[in-house]
């Protein structure tokens, strides 16, 4: 035991995250994040590996412990070390992050390794590269489709077209493309009077609730691509629920959260979108707005992946002011009390089989829907267990991953079928696709139920 060679001070509990942390300049030429403390903190307990849904079914995949700390060390010690191509088999569910008892930033390590693999090792002329790029830029396809949604809906599920996509691009023809709405959320929002309309309705709510009409209750809604183009009813429910509680809602300019881009190692694309989102959210945060997302992968990106991967002005402020939609209300309003007095009748007076998305789990939100709704009159809700749905965004859309995706999802399908409810519920759009694909159930978002319970 030598006292002389004391290591530089860092807290192994929270590597590379504290403001006090000063990395030693071990790799002076590198602009990358220094993830050494993360690698050093790993004591190989393998808890992360037991959380990996891919390693449970895929004999090619070495698991998160290898992808993270072990590969990071290999990269530093061997000059010509190439990132192992298995990093593309990680679905970016991020379950390992929440698992590590030692604070190793596993998903940050995976994201940086995957980014490096795609930018330096993957051929830009390969089908895989372009397939992944198209899948991860869903917003662009959705934007195009929204210009003529009916035509797009017919074309996207047209058999021969899907056969060609499968054969030439490796996009599975097993799944149905989600339908595009004939009116996007943003179009609806403008027709409702935008921010000015929301302010009027919020003030009226505050008066009805006996609150100060001038109360400073305002939020910026990050609707994400899916609520805008595919399920505007979720966005509408968000607006109506928040206005019911007296919040003024604004809907700033925004791009994709970047979630599918991280998962495909398209970090340049992700950064471009992140810069646009941060720039629009940071101004609002400065004015006292909090950012609210209804998709748990979007909130995850703004909260955790942005600050872990990008050094953008305002990124930390936006991160600490971003919340998931139910979570925020639970912190700021007595939702439990109001729900206690509510009862649901009509279309949503049903039993629900609820699945917590992995990204909700990683934000500590996996129990909130069940805890909120379990005592509401007129509805029932049951958790279908802690397994991953298996689709993980773009993962389950890839031909070569489809079978694995369904194998991972089998446990959830089985539990859904065992549950009383024959309607599914989840916060994540792609989990919803998988739930519907595996069971044929109609899948709803918790905000829709909250709207049914609380909004006249």
């Amino acid at each position: 035991m030598s006292d002389a060679e004391s290591p530089p001070e860092f807290d192994p509990e929270a590597p590379n995250t504290g403001e006090d942390f000063e990395p030693v300049d071990v790799f002076p030429d590198s602009d990358d994040f220094d993830l050494r403390p993360g690698a050093d903190s790993c004591y190989k307990c393998s808890t992360c590996d037991t959380n990996c849904p891919v390693a449970e079914v895929d004999d090619e995949f070495p698991g998160p412990k290898f992808q993270g700390p072990e590969q990071w060390r290999l990269k530093q010690s061997e000059e010509d070390y190439d990132v192992d191509d298995s990093v593309m088999d990680c679905s970016n569910c991020m379950r390992c992050d929440n698992a590590c008892p030692s604070g190793v930033p596993l998903s940050q390590m995976h994201n940086t390794a995957r980014g490096e693999y795609v930018s330096e090792q993957m051929s830009k002329f390969s089908v895989e590269y372009w397939r992944n790029r198209i899948l991860s830029n869903y917003r662009t396809s959705a934007w195009l489709a929204s210009k003529m949604p009916r035509v797009a809906n017919a074309a996207m599920n047209f058999g021969p077209a899907r056969w060609v996509m499968e054969k030439t691009m490796g996009i599975t023809s097993e799944r149905e493309f989600p339908a595009f709405a004939t009116e996007t959320f943003r179009e609806w929002w403008r027709a409702e009077g935008g921010a000015a309309g929301s302010r009027e309705r919020a003030v009226a709510s505050r008066e009805r609730r006996g609150e100060d009409p001038d109360a400073d209750k305002k939020v910026a809604y990050f609707h994400g691509c899916y609520s805008n183009y595919n399920t505007p009813e979720v966005g509408k429910a968000m607006v109506r629920v928040y206005e019911h509680f007296g919040y003024e809602v604004v809907v700033p300019e925004q791009k994709c959260s970047g979630t599918p881009m991280f998962a495909n190692g398209m970090l340049d694309d992700a950064r471009r979108h992140a810069e646009a989102n941060i720039s629009s959210m940071a101004d609002l945060v400065e004015q006292g707005y909090d950012a609210i997302a209804s998709c748990t992968s979007c909130s995850m990106a703004l909260r955790q992946e942005y600050p872990e991967l990008f050094d953008i002005d305002g990124v930390d402020e936006v991160s600490s002011h971003t919340f998931e939609s139910l979570e925020y209300l639970r912190i700021h309003e007595d939702v439990r009390d109001e729900l206690g007095a509510a009862d649901v009748d009509g279309e949503l007076a049903r039993e629900f089989a609820y699945h917590a998305p992995c990204h909700a789990r990683n934000q500590g939100l996996n129990n909130q829907a069940v805890e909120l709704f379990r005592d509401v009159e007129g509805v029932g809700i049951e958790d279908v267990g802690d397994s991953c749905s298996g689709i993980s965004g773009t993962y389950g859309w890839k031909s070569e991953k489809y079978d694995k995706s369904m194998e991972i999802g089998a446990e959830m399908f089985e539990h859904m079928e065992d549950a009383d409810g024959k309607t599914g519920m989840t916060e994540c759009p792609t989990c919803a696709m998988q739930m519907e694909h595996g069971t044929g159930y109609d899948i709803r978002h918790p905000l829709e139920l909250l709207e049914a319970a609380l909004v006249e």
């Binding site: 393998s46 590996d49 079914v57 004999d59 929440n98 008892p101 129990n367 069940v370």
Partner: protein, 440 residues
């Protein structure tokens, strides 16, 4: 050294109201879960918050009460009989033997598929190192392996699982004088699994009875495994596998393998990560959900308000501070492994509330130079009053509404005594019940 955790509150995220409960339990291991269950069953509105996944995943899944005295005498036959003679500072002395019994009754009531409650006597369960561990409760899956059973045993090792050397374990058991013959064989697991396949991969394959490729033919894995092991069987009536036999359908898998082998099948508890530990964790969380508690995992308690009394704590999420308030609090954050007790060059501390942790000034006194010697660090933890409230150096309570449970407590060496689970369950139960009574 930045002690990020030991901070009284800076201003919270604006405009927030606290998430409220009557009892707030901090920590999601055996101590925290038992505490929350006991409080919920006593009628309290309970919330449990936990930072990372608990150390239960690293635990064997065996639930011990006391295997050896602090002086090293043992293995003990009756742990309850030995409790009254423990030192005054021991957590069992604080709660008393009848509380230990009540707490174990709660455990037996909420956790299915455990055995051992029919007797006060310790069972001796073979471990993956070939030792015999005295334990009060054990998973049903381990029950056919008990050393008190006189039927001969075949231990099955898997080539890729280097943690379990079946031959060596068998030799150790023989040397320990078990009353039966024991033999080890090592085989390869059927199929093309990678050499470093995760325990969850084996478990999933067995759970779903998935197909594996054996000599170019597709076969269900359970049948293929039984066939391979059956070839090495020489009349033994019991067969022990490393604990990888399924997660959700463990009983069914054991029974099917047993039928095919014509022998009773058991699991040998393994080191981390451990499926029996995982199954126990799942069972306890399920029980807590059924008891109506609210649960939040994934974010740390970083700060608190209060002087003599804890007013509220703050959960940190990516820089936002979310207040949680309760009438009563239970600290069940674990010990040195679970990071409920931390140390640096300056001293030993409890990171959430900075409760007093007695320790020698000179850190070279914290350990013994003999590896298996009497280490002071093994007993590091908070000291409490009779009601499990952590005390300051002068013996007065740190906070009137904070109790501590599990490995964050000092005064005992769970690794040497084999008392870790029992202390967590007993003190968790006592702290949870006491908190619930006070909250009402």
């Amino acid at each position: 050294m930045s002690r990020w955790c030991r901070t009284r509150a800076s201003p919270p995220t604006e405009g927030t109201m606290a998430i409220e409960s009557e009892v707030l339990v901090i920590g999601g291991g055996l101590g925290g879960l038992t505490s929350a269950l006991a409080a919920a069953r006593a009628g309290a509105d309970v919330r449990l918050v936990s930072y990372k996944q608990s150390t239960l995943r690293n635990a064997s899944g065996l639930v011990d009460i006391l295997g050896y005295t602090p002086d090293g005498d043992g293995p003990l036959t009756d742990p309850y009989a030995a409790i009254p003679a423990l030192p005054a500072a021991h957590p069992y002395s604080t709660v008393g033997v009848s509380t230990v019994r009540d707490a174990m009754a709660l455990f037996d009531d909420v956790v299915p598929d455990y055995r051992g409650s029919h007797t006060d006597t310790n069972a001796l369960v073979p471990t993956h190192g070939g030792t015999l561990k005295p334990t009060a409760r054990y998973p049903a899956g381990a029950s056919a392996g008990l050393a008190s059973d006189e039927r001969d045993v075949l231990l099955v090792g898997l080539e890729s699982m280097v943690d379990f050397d079946a031959d060596r374990a068998a030799e150790h058991l023989e040397a320990a004088g078990v009353p039966f013959d024991v033999r080890g064989v090592t085989t390869s697991f059927p199929g093309d699994l990678r050499a470093d396949a995760k325990i969850t991969r084996y478990a999933k394959l067995l759970d779903t009875d998935g197909e594996v490729s054996v000599k170019g033919r597709k076969r269900p894995v359970r049948a293929a495994l039984a066939e391979r092991v059956g070839r090495g069987l020489a009349g033994e009536q019991r067969v022990g596998f490393p604990a990888i036999l399924g997660d959700d359908n463990a009983t069914e898998i054991r029974e099917e393998l047993g039928d095919r082998l014509g022998a009773d099948v058991f699991e040998v508890p393994m080191g981390p990560p451990s499926l029996p530990g995982l199954r126990l964790e799942d069972a306890l969380f399920d029980a807590l959900r059924r008891a109506g508690a609210s649960i939040e995992t994934g974010n740390p308690v970083a700060e608190f308000d209060g002087d003599d009394r804890i007013e509220q704590v703050y959960i940190e999420k990516n820089g936002a501070k979310i207040p949680n308030s309760a009438d009563q609090y239970v600290l069940a954050t674990g010990g040195l492994v679970g990071k409920g007790v931390e140390s640096d060059r300056g001293g030993v501390y409890e990171p959430v509330f900075d409760c007093h942790v007695p320790h020698a000034e000179d850190r070279y006194d914290w350990f013994d130079t003999d590896v298996f010697g009497d280490h002071e660090f093994a007993r590091f933890g908070v000291q409490t009053d009779d009601d499990l409230r952590p005390t300051q150096a002068d013996g007065s309570a740190e906070f009137e509404n904070l109790r501590a449970a599990g490995a964050v407590l000092g005064g005992y060496d769970f690794a040497a005594e084999k008392s870790g689970s029992g202390v967590s369950i007993a003190t968790g139960y006592a702290a949870g019940r006491s908190a619930a009574q006070e909250a009402q």
